[in-house]
């Protein structure tokens, strides 16, 4: 019967799931890097506020993508309930939903003391009124500041959980060789942290612009260069796995490696060009911000392309 196999891609989870996976990984890794930086490298109120709230916004938009495509959004209550982990401990969406929810809460609590102290935030019409409430001061001082590192680590653990989950979700579909392998969570996690560093470099170069952040930017650039290099190595091994793997993998390889969007858009402009730009910055340095800003934008675009092409290139083998 196997001689009559047919091969097809799917139209069930398309670009909107790619957006969900992208913003989920990017938002989570942004929070993780921001909080670890604040806890262990340099106290940085502006970075925490920008990183935490843009990360939470990304996660919200990403989750909204999934939510609006549900057949029955009322039933989402079943997966928001943390007890779902006892009923469905083998479902990565159940774990991912809990990671996302708790990371947003812990992220909010970690950033709250900085927000309460921010004069600009206290002057905002609605938010300011909330921040000036006594209860917010008490919450900030008695809970958030007192257990600041614990909260930071809780957010970090949940954030890493989200980043890994975006890959584990695809890995749990056994019919598609491109997805059902241990390389996917690794690739998606590395990509999530690489895009997060690129996003934070954009913030530091274009929004926050503190003079004394020079060494932080250099550290982020170096780390991102290594992550892009790791991503290239993982993709290289993926290529060999797929080229010599089963038919589903081979056909996915054909789809990907014959597509200019994947080759030039993702591999070329999304990985190799930013790698070279950041490598030059690491070795010799740049006089202006433009090359690193360009590299960051390219890494961010590449991060989306990776997930987009992964969703569309998954090949199912059907014996009919």
């Amino acid at each position: 019967m196997d001689v009559t196999m047919s091969y097809t891609t799917q139209e069930i989870w398309t670009w909107w799931i790619a957006v969900y996976l992208y913003l989920g990984g990017l938002g989570a890794a942004t929070l993780v890097v921001t909080f670890l930086t604040d806890m262990y490298l340099k106290n940085h109120r502006a970075l925490v506020l920008w990183g935490a709230f843009s990360g939470i916004a990304m996660l919200s938009v990403g989750s909204l993508m999934l939510f609006i495509h549900l057949l029955d959004p009322r039933a989402v209550l079943h997966v928001i309930n943390p007890l779902v982990l006892f009923r469905q401990p083998h479902s990565w969406i159940a774990w991912g939903t809990q990671f996302i929810i708790w990371m947003m809460w812990w992220g909010l609590f970690y950033a709250l003391p900085y927000l309460v102290q921010s004069e600009r935030a206290r002057k905002l019409p609605l938010l300011g009124a909330v921040l000036r409430l006594k209860v917010m001061n008490r919450l900030s001082n008695r809970c958030c500041l007192r257990f600041h590192k614990t909260i930071g680590w809780l957010a970090t653990i949940n954030g890493i959980g989200v980043a890994v989950y975006t890959g584990l979700l695809l890995q749990s579909f056994p019919a598609v060789a491109l997805w059902h392998n241990p390389g996917v969570p690794l690739l998606f996690t590395v990509s999530a942290f690489s895009t997060a560093l690129a996003y934070l470099l954009l913030l530091l170069n274009l929004v926050i612009k503190h003079e004394d952040d020079y060494y932080l930017k250099v550290f982020y650039e170096r780390t991102d260069t290594m992550l892009i290099a790791a991503e290239l190595v993982i993709l290289f091994s993926f290529f060999h796995y797929m080229a010599a793997g089963n038919e589903s993998a081979f056909r996915s390889a054909q789809l990907l490696w014959q597509d200019m969007g994947w080759l030039i858009g993702f591999i070329g402009l999304g990985l190799i060009v930013p790698f070279l730009l950041e490598l030059k910055g690491v070795i010799k340095g740049w006089t202006g911000r433009l090359p690193i800003v360009t590299a960051s934008v390219l890494v961010l675009a590449g991060g989306y392309l990776l997930r987009h092409y992964f969703m569309y290139a998954g090949v199912y083998a059907h014996p009919w």
Partner: protein
């Protein structure tokens, strides 16, 4: 213990699609959108003058290790002791992860629009009240009454046979035990309970 299974003989399926019609009427599926719990593929195999048509019925394989169940985030997909995999439509939020996980393309979505149309199409007898992912249940409501699944009962060529794998005297169990009937893509580890008798060997 009962463990239900189906054997499909590709040699005797004539492609009349009566199984699709019987299933659709029995289980009120959204046929107006060409969505079926069971579907018969029509394929030409061979080249030149040596070509023949193959009709290939497919449905949920009620796997012993169902990936649709393990990915389901709400627990809407569940498995009965007799091996039948079902969906609780009240728990299903319709994320479609089950459809992504299923190697046998056995999941279909029933949308709000389908529920509305279903009320007009099937009339007062329409049982569904909310959207969800849907799938074959081996007509377990008929099994409870001692009947065969609708597709099995209606099959004119007796291409579909239904039985209990745990009953050594059951013809279905015997065909499976002898290896005459084989599962689809067993290498995926899903341990399906729908088995097929190959037609190409007999055609030479």
């Amino acid at each position: 213990m009962t463990r239900f299974a189906m054997v499909i003989d590709l040699n005797t399926c004539v492609g009349c699609n009566a199984c699709m019609a019987a299933c659709a009427m029995e289980n009120q599926t959204p046929v107006w959108k060409n969505k079926w719990r069971t579907y018969v593929h029509d394929k030409e195999i061979g080249s030149g003058e040596d070509v023949h048509r193959r009709f290939f019925p497919r449905l949920c394989n009620h796997c012993d290790n169902p990936p649709c169940l393990s990915v389901c985030p709400t627990g809407a997909t569940y498995k009965l002791d007799n091996g039948i995999v079902k969906v609780d439509e009240a728990l299903c939020m319709g994320c479609r992860a089950c459809a992504m996980a299923c190697p046998y393309d056995a999941r279909l979505e029933v949308t709000h629009d389908d529920v509305e149309t279903g009320r007009d199409f099937y009339g007062e007898a329409y049982r569904r009240s909310r959207p969800s992912m849907d799938k074959c249940t081996f007509c377990d409501h008929r099994l409870e009454q001692g009947l065969q699944p609708a597709c099995v009962e209606t099959c004119v060529g007796s291409a579909r046979q239904f039985g209990d794998l745990d009953d050594p005297n059951d013809p279905v169990a015997q065909m499976v035990a002898r290896g005459v009937a084989r599962p689809l893509m067993p290498h995926l580890g899903t341990r399906p309970n729908v088995y097929y008798i190959d037609d190409l060997k007999r055609r030479g």
